[in-house]
Amino acid sequence: MDLLKTLPIGLYLEEPVTWLHRLDPRVKLFWLFSILVSPILANASWRFFLVGLLMALTITALIPLRVWRQQMGWLLFLCTMMLVLTALLPDGLAIAYQAPVPSPTAIQSIEPFPDQFPPTAFAVPPATGYQYVVLDAWRLTVTQRSLELGIRLSTLLFTLIYGTNLFLLTTASEEVTVAIEVLMRPLRSLNVPVTEIALTVTLALRFIPLVLEETQNLIRSVQTRAINWKKLGFRGSAQVWLAITERLLKNLLLRAEQTAAAMAVRGFTTPDTHRVKWSELRLRTADFLALVALVGFWYARVVWGGEGV
């Protein structure tokens, strides 16, 4: 199906089977969670480290170039644009930039100089390389704040989207739900229907392509009717799209009904017991190594990655 096959994110790569594929989905889920959470209150170096880490994982896993060029290309472009624009646009402080303390000459010129202070009381520490305005050329101004904001936004966007994407690229949908089910198992004691939730998520993941297919079919049906949108005007166009949306909902409900019938015929038991056994959850040596590496990851985050370091 065209729409789905051309989507640049959220696809599962079945071949080649990389070392990331072979990791236990629970371990991958822990890593994903850590990669998504660790940027909170982190410094810029840590954020860049995460971007580099994700790229390094992609390269060492030998994910085919055609796949990550398609997926990472547009994302890198988007993030770079976000970094440049946020850095160049006003930083939102709306103040005139000035030195934080009076200059030594200004202090010396105070008349009469207060007697109670020794002459060295207002000595200004030697100047450092710090400058609030990082770049001021022509009409372009980059400040510390706008640069930091740009770095935060662009790296966060990349980490969130690409981290999740890399996880989905190397983990089959049912493995994701099995891992979630296993990790949610303690909630069973609180009468949370864990198996039902996992099955519902799995079925929903299968349903997404069907929704896209139905949407694509309806869009094609509109395209082939050569509707003169200009002539229809806003109100007429809205009516057409409303009718299409109604049709889409009807078709989806019909599909859901047919899927339910198929499930009944194919030996569906009950929602809270129908646990499809297919994915194997087994911690191997590589998984333990990955967990040890995760401890190291969090140690580095706490020691070096915090804000103000």
């Binding site: 696809l11 599962y12 949908s173 899927t259 194919r266 569906f268």
Partner: protein, 229 residues
């Protein structure tokens, strides 16, 4: 009726006795319909649109209840829908084939071997990890059949499984089912509109006006239908 399998003494694998069904009191779909398919036979069910073919299959699977008469299937059955997208419910091929095995409560290694065996039987062993959306129409139908085989079903009910396929995939699929019927001693009831598919079955049945009007050797039925067109 010709006995192709040497199982003439056994009770029919599929039995439909005097069945009537109507969606509304004025719209009768099946009218005192009777049909028997012996074990090991590959039977094709033909008929015009609205003649009751799909309704009959739904009655056999238990999705509908007959308003009169009885239907019975001896042994476990698998059902293949016209549009495989309606019946493939899991995100990847292997998981979908394993979907029907939950009720048997098998250990994971057994499930995996049953799935591998079923996929090998439909020549898709190499696609166990593939997402369903990335399959072609013919491959989806094979996965649907693999789902039935994995459950070790004895009866296959197929509702126009080639309706959405190109001619090559159509013949490929009908040949595959023919082979499975012979090798695994299955009984298959295949609903179709396409006369070319009759070349591969053991017996053909023509449904018209809600009941069986003719049945017999596929070649003779094909000649009659071709002449009436």
């Amino acid at each position: 009726m010709t006995d192709h399998t040497g199982t003439a003494d056994l009770p029919p694998a599929i039995q439909v006795d005097d069945v009537s069904f109507a969606w509304t009191p004025t719209a009768r779909v099946l009218e005192r319909c009777s049909l028997a398919v012996p074990p090991g036979e590959f039977c094709m069910l033909l008929g015009d649109n609205g003649s009751g073919k799909s309704t009959l299959l739904k009655l056999l699977t238990g999705l509908l209840d007959p308003q009169q008469g009885q239907v019975s299937i001896h042994g476990t059955f698998g059902y293949v829908f016209q549009n495989p997208d309606h019946q493939l419910v899991m995100p990847t091929v292997g998981a979908d084939v394993a979907f029907g095995l939950v009720a048997e409560n098998l250990p994971l290694p057994t499930v995996r071997s049953r799935v591998s065996e079923a996929l090998a039987a439909v020549n898709l062993a190499h696609l166990a990890r593939r997402p369903i959306y990335a399959l072609s129409g013919g491959q989806k139908q094979r996965v649907a059949i693999a789902g039935a085989i994995a459950r070790h079903c004895e009866v296959l009910l197929l509702d126009e499984p080639t309706a959405l396929l190109d001619p090559d995939s159509q013949i490929e699929l009908v040949k595959l089912v023919q082979t499975l019927v012979k090798e695994r001693h299955l009984t298959a009831l295949w609903v179709t509109h396409r006369l070319v598919e009759l070349d591969y079955c053991d017996r053909a049945v023509l449904l018209r006006g809600g009941h069986v009007v003719r049945e017999g050797e596929p070649a003779s039925l094909r000649q009659i239908l071709a002449a009436s067109d």
